[in-house]
Symmetry: C2
Subunit: 121 residues, 2 copies
């Protein structure tokens, strides 16, 4: 597959709400996930667990994903812009979170994801 094919599949599944299918089928076993504070989580299992924990204390209303985006100087990467419509159970207040994700792909699998955002997510 080309980077573009991987990126399109990624976005399509996310738009169907199948984010965990993405993690289970498109992540390399040693995938590295880097949150906004710079903290790295290493390994497909721990990365999935991190997302399960994140979802567990929220009501998830939906997300938007644009678009994917590319840059020829980094031909193994694509970027997306997410908005996440959630109600944290701790506050009960519905909010929209925004973030940019930069994904690195090798041999058709996502090997690294780095999220840019502001504040707690």
């Amino acid at each position: 597959m080309s980077l573009r094919t991987v990126a399109s599949k990624f976005v399509e599944l996310c738009r169907q709400g199948k984010n965990f299918d993405v993690m289970r089928t498109m992540y390399e076993p040693n995938n590295v996930s880097v949150e906004g504070d710079g903290k790295e989580t290493v390994g497909q299992g721990p990365v999935i667990k991190k997302s399960e924990d994140w979802v567990a204390d929220k009501t998830f209303h939906g997300e938007t994903v644009a678009d994917p985006f590319f840059n020829g100087a980094t031909p193994d990467q694509f970027a997306v812009y997410f908005t996440l419509d959630v109600t944290p159970k701790s506050t009960g207040r519905r909010i929209t979170l925004q973030e940019v994700g930069v994904y690195t792909v090798k041999n058709d699998k996502i090997t690294r994801e780095q999220f840019f955002y502001d504040g707690d997510h």
Copy 2:
């Protein structure tokens, strides 16, 4: 200034439509600009010229800029998501372009910008 202060100033000026003020006052003289196809333009003057040429064949209706975003693993960078509402003079058809920009800051100046998008911009 902190990275956050530079990023906030960048976004504030862009939201006021002062993109060329950003380039004139916030770019380092040897700034590098990388377009979606990977092509690099080097130097503040050539980078400004590139944008002048880009604007020249369009009617520019406005832009949105979110938000800026950060990641602690790359503490000299911020990311933004742009939508650009333009009518290319060649087609007369109004379109919305989207892109992610990743900016690198050193000594309070923008030294590099890398744009991720899809298709012609």
